[in-house]
């Protein structure tokens, strides 16, 4: 649970079941739950968490602003079409927040202040009902779009990283808490909704809460009916401005979040982690921030490094780097997460990990996707590259090979395979090929190591006695490196299988007069 000034600010569901409530003192908590983990609220980490969410949200709109009381405002007016409508966008934002490990109250309204109010109301409703979950950094938010004709800057949605929590800074996954997105898309419905909200939601009105109560003015609708000059004299200009902004009567100005020049995000884990595959959730958290940064700066990433920080102190170790290079630059998170999953599954950790950091080492300008009218059946070149990258990530670069044959008479030398990530120009590949590929009989399968054949009745024997069925092909080459002097034959076994066998011509010493036969290939 999280304490602020020695009083409980937030606690987990388990603690609530044990009878811990908000505002309880430390001593009381320890009496109920002696083994409880008490954490001090840490405003710096809260701000960090909110920044992380803001960065991740940049993938949905370039206009994200931090607002008071841990709220994010996003102007999504221009993003609706791209993401397929407000519902789809809300679902995606919610999924991203879930992946980041935060809970949020989302709301949408045609004005930013209204969205803020709705989101705060949603979050507070949760709080009053006492169902809000623990020390996780909650986020309430509102998406607010400008579908009404009252078109000013269609200010944003806000995700509101709650006032409590996140003191331990750990992304804490909890099931979606079912905070319903309050959506008001038309001005008329928004006004109806706003009129029902309590007055105390507006920060400037909180100081005068007792006075409003005395007046019997509890809702915003009632507040609006009060005479404006008197209200301004008593409560100040600020309250009226905020009210007007919520109802769309005066313009709002925002300080949009500017993405940093270079990307580096850090995450402190909530525990010492020993299995590399368990780090994926944390890595996903960082990748989401990277996605937001890339979208905001219109960049695609080519190379990223995930640094796994180990414990400091006596056994201090440098962080273990995990570098992921991409053949095709990307700015989406799915592919990066899939690659990281395969790489992390293979990674061996020398020591427990306490922190993660992600850096974008190499970026380039985002290339717009080229859409063709008729999609190719085999997918795009990027799809192919992604598949290869995924295979390389799991199998290792030395196990995913492309053919680069060269014109050489020695079969082993001619049959060269190189890692698929090595770039080979088509002209270079063509230049290495012999002029007529079909000129020589070559087997489809070349044994990695020739098998020395037994001799029976002066005939080579492999499963059955082999009958030579072709004229010899004499290969005598390679005096500059490894000499081969062999006579190759196609031989036929009794079951009509064809084998590629050879006879070694120069035998080490003169005493060994018997010719030696080897099996070297199979005709597939």
């Amino acid at each position: 649970m999280v304490l602020e000034q020695e009083r409980v600010l937030a606690c987990s569901a388990l603690a609530r079941a044990a009878g811990v409530g908000r505002g309880m003192r430390r001593g009381g908590v320890l009496m109920l739950l002696p083994e409880a983990r008490l954490l001090e609220r840490d405003p710096a980490r809260e701000a960090e968490a909110l920044d992380a969410v803001a960065l991740a949200m940049l993938q949905y709109t370039p206009q994200v602003a931090l607002a008071e009381e841990a709220t994010l405002l996003m102007d999504v007016g221009a993003s609706l079409r791209l993401f397929g409508g407000i519902r789809a966008l809300c679902a995606r934002v919610r999924a991203s927040l879930d992946a980041l490990g935060f809970t949020a109250a989302l709301s949408c309204a045609p004005t930013a202040r209204a969205a803020w109010l709705l989101a705060r109301h949603g979050g507070q409703g949760r709080r009053q009902s006492g169902r809000h979950g623990g020390k996780n950094g909650g986020a309430q938010g509102g998406i607010h779009d400008d579908t009404s004709d009252r078109a000013r800057d269609s200010a944003g949605s806000h995700a509101h990283g709650s006032g409590h929590g996140n003191a331990n800074g750990s992304p804490h996954r909890n099931p979606p808490a079912g905070i319903r997105a309050a959506r008001a898309l038309r001005m008329a419905s928004l006004e109806r909704r706003l009129d029902r909200l309590p007055v105390a939601l507006l920060p400037p009105a909180r100081a005068y809460a007792a006075w409003f109560e005395g007046l019997g003015c509890e809702r915003l609708g009632e507040l609006r009916r009060l005479p404006r000059p008197g209200l301004q004299r008593r409560c100040g200009r600020e309250l009226l401005d905020m009210l007007d902004a919520a109802y769309g009567l005066c313009p709002e100005l925002f300080d949009w979040v500017a993405p940093p020049e270079s990307f580096r995000a850090r995450l402190e884990l909530f525990d010492r982690i020993e299995g590399a595959d368990l780090l994926l959730a944390g890595a996903h958290h960082l990748v989401l921030q990277l996605t937001g940064w890339l979208c905001a700066r219109q960049l695609a990433v080519e190379r990223i490094t995930l640094l796994m920080e180990h414990e400091r102190g006596r056994v201090a170790m440098p962080p273990t780097p995990l570098e992921v290079a991409l053949a095709e630059p990307t700015w989406r998170d799915e592919h990066l997460v899939r690659l990281l999953r395969e790489r992390l599954a293979k990674q061996e950790l020398p020591a427990p990990v306490i922190g993660l950091a992600l850096e974008a080492l190499q970026v380039r300008a985002m290339a717009p996707p080229s859409e063709s009218l008729f999609p190719e059946p085999g997918g795009t070149e990027e799809d192919r590259m992604r598949m290869l990258e995924l295979l390389v990530a799991r199998l290792g670069p030395e196990n995913v090979l492309q053919a680069l044959p060269q014109a050489d008479y020695r079969p082993e030398v001619a049959n060269e395979w190189v890692p698929v990530q090595q770039r080979v120009r088509p002209s270079e590949r063509a230049a290495r090929l012999p002029p007529v590929v079909a000129s020589l009989p070559r087997p489809s399968w070349l044994l990695a190591k020739p098998i020395a054949l037994l001799m029976r009745n002066h005939r080579p024997y492999y499963g059955s006695s082999l009958k030579v069925a072709s004229t010899p092909e004499r290969i005598e080459a390679g005096w500059w490196s490894d000499t081969q002097t062999r006579d190759y034959f196609i031989a036929e076994g009794q079951d009509h299988t064809l084998y590629w066998i050879y006879r070694e011509r120069i035998i080490g010493s003169g005493v060994d007069a018997e010719p030696r036969w080897y099996l070297h290939g199979l005709f597939g």
Binding site: P377, D383, L395, N415, W445, L446, F523
Partner: protein, 248 residues
Amino acid sequence: MFIQYILPTMMNCASIPSIRPAPEALHPALWKASQLARGGARCIDTGHAPLTSQLPGGGWPVGTLVELLQQQAGIGEMRLLRPALQACAERRIVLLQPPHPPQALALAALGLPPSQLLWLKPERSADALWAAEQVLRSGSCGALLFWANHVRGESLRRLHLAAQHGETLFFMLRPLAAAQDASPAPLRLALRPAAGGLNIDFVKRRGPQRDAPLFLPLTPSLLQRHAFVDRPVLTPAAARGLQPQLVQ
């Protein structure tokens, strides 16, 4: 799935005169047990006329698990698949876990461009199955040839499902002993070497049971020998005709 249409008994036939159409005329997914299935998945021509006439759909089905069972590698399986692989060579051809290193020049001589070949050498069989599934799901490869010795039934089913996801030509090359085991593959052929070609046994196909192996001469014949005159001329099974053994 496929419904096997049961022929009405003679009595019913007598009571309902010949207004009832033949079952195969009703729907492309219906066929009689004596006929080859038709109207299934898209097929790629095998390039061997005698074989094509024996396969349901008239070729290698795309997006389906096809099993080729053979005693050992190197009996002519690549020459058998050559026309089909050539047909889909504008996309990559993946050789997954071949028993021996493939020789790119020989494959180039078979008409498979070396730039399109991809050789995967997974270290564990779990990795091989994973890689096969990734290749099939991505759908960006023309053909996948997967050599596997021991595969469990559920893995086969999983791969078959993954294959249906895309339009990749998918062959699994398995040992001959696997013919005894059940498999979800709708087409299973056993290959045995023969003089100048291959003997093909139809272990399983959507069509009538065929006991006699099909001899298929392979080109290019590596040994320039006499033509295959001593072979009986094969009459291809008529796609709609009733097999005599079923009639009696």
